[in-house]
């Protein structure tokens, strides 16, 4: 029974693999459909709560949601089964792509292709910054935080490890909110919910 449950969890998430293509914007609605409507393992609100919680810890929200749901359904083994299911197809395809890449990368045409693709990678990264930034930078303090991170990396290159900048950011956020609350001017912690809804897909943004 237990093994059957684990296999079902593994299989359900394995089949979601194709939807995670290119980073997986589409994964969260698919999780909702499979887990709530088809399998009836959880209720819709439960999945929504899990997705919210999953985006408050490190890692991609979709993968975290999978582990969360697996854990809820069948404990540690369930979480592992869900993770394995969601990661295995992508992993195999990634290895296959790498095998091809290693084989062909020295061909002049392919070298040319990757020279241009390096410029496209810049666009992908800039786009990621833009998508996180539009919900992140909305007042003076958040603007200052973003500028400070850039300054630390630009000026302290090689001395300031990105790890500590992330830690500083979290600590600074908590401190800033505490101070403002004490001054009697509590900060707005999010872009207005309404604005967010208008933009739609706030959660899928995290996945790419």
């Amino acid at each position: 029974m237990k093994a059957g449950r684990l296999l079902a969890i593994f299989w359900t998430f394995l089949r979601m693999g194709p939807f995670t293509f290119g980073g997986g914007y589409a994964l969260i609605p698919v999780i909702e459909r499979e887990i709530v409507a088809k399998r009836r393992w959880l209720r819709e609100e439960e999945v929504a709560d899990i997705v919210t919680a999953a985006s408050s810890i490190p890692g991609a929200a979709g993968v975290n949601s999978a582990a969360f749901i697996g854990h809820r359904l069948a404990g540690v083994a369930g979480a592992a089964a869900a993770l394995l299911g969601i990661l295995l197809p992508a992993f195999c395809i990634m290895i296959a792509l790498l095998l091809v890449y290693v084989r062909i990368k020295d061909h002049p045409k392919i070298e040319g292709a990757f020279t241009a693709i390096r410029a496209t990678v810049v666009a992908l990264i800039a786009y990621a910054a833009f998508r996180i930034g539009r919900n992140a930078v909305f007042d003076f303090i958040t603007g200052a935080f973003a500028a400070a991170a850039v300054a630390l990396l630009a000026l302290g290159g090689g001395y300031v490890h990105p790890f500590w900048i992330v830690v500083l950011g979290a600590a600074g956020g908590i401190a800033a909110v505490k101070i403002r609350t004490r001054l009697g001017r509590p900060a707005r912690l999010d872009k207005k919910e309404k604005e967010k809804e208008e933009e739609r897909e706030p959660v899928y943004d995290y996945m790419i």
Binding site: G17, G23, I57, P58, G59, A60, N64, A67, L87, P89, A90, F91, I93, M94, I95, L97, L98, Y101, K105, I110, G112, A113, F114, T115, A116, R118, A119, T120, V121, V122, L124, Y127, A128, A129, I132, G133, N135, A136, V137, F145, A146, A147, A148, A149, G158, F163, I165, V166, L168, G169, A170, A171, G172, G173, I174, V177, A187, L189, M207, I208
Partner: protein, 179 residues
């Protein structure tokens, strides 16, 4: 080497708030500057291949770097390491997280985290622009690279094209232009 891969990607997984691209500044620092596992062009190619493959970018980058450095075992170790931090957090505090989702402390941490991550990714984009030769001055190469960058950004933001198709199209342009 396997231990090194594990340490790097475990820590990367620990700080990748907001998904895969948030991890790039960290990977750059460790893989390029501190451990010299790859050069800048190789890392850019790895990110490109990761963007073409299904699955979360973080796991794909981990698989690619791990594979290049230590074969299949390296890929398995790196992917395991990168998902392990969130896995452990979910096991240890999953129920608590769901119950206290939207708690003030979490919210205020993210109030500071998100802009910092934004700044870090923006800076990463700038450094990758250097690797791509876009900042080398007024040369035809820098100009064409900049145009490819601008066209890609336009396709992603305005035309809402999928990263996969943008990467493929850009590759075709590159093969014709530079090949």
């Amino acid at each position: 080497m396997l231990l090194g891969l594990f340490v790097v990607f475990f820590l990367a997984g620990l700080v990748s708030f907001g998904g895969g691209y948030a991890m790039i500044p960290f990977i750059q620092e460790e893989v390029l500057h501190r451990r010299h596992w790859m050069d800048a062009a190789q890392l850019a190619d790895v990110i490109a291949v990761a963007g073409m493959s299904p699955g979360p970018i973080a796991a794909n980058i981990a698989a690619a770097v791990g594979y290049q450095k230590a074969g299949l075992a390296g890929a398995v170790v790196a992917v395991t390491a990168v998902v392990l931090p969130s896995f452990l957090v979910i096991l240890a505090a999953g129920k608590l997280l769901v119950r206290h989702r939207g708690h003030l402390l979490t919210k205020s941490a993210f109030y500071g985290l998100r802009p910092v991550v934004t700044g870090m990714i923006a800076w990463a984009a700038f450094t990758f622009a250097q690797y791509a030769g876009m900042t080398e001055g007024a040369t035809w190469f820098a100009l064409s690279q900049f145009l490819i960058f601008a066209g890609s950004l336009w396709a992603l933001t305005r035309l809402h094209k999928h990263p996969f198709s943008v990467l493929i199209l850009s590759g075709l342009v590159g093969a014709a232009l530079y090949g």
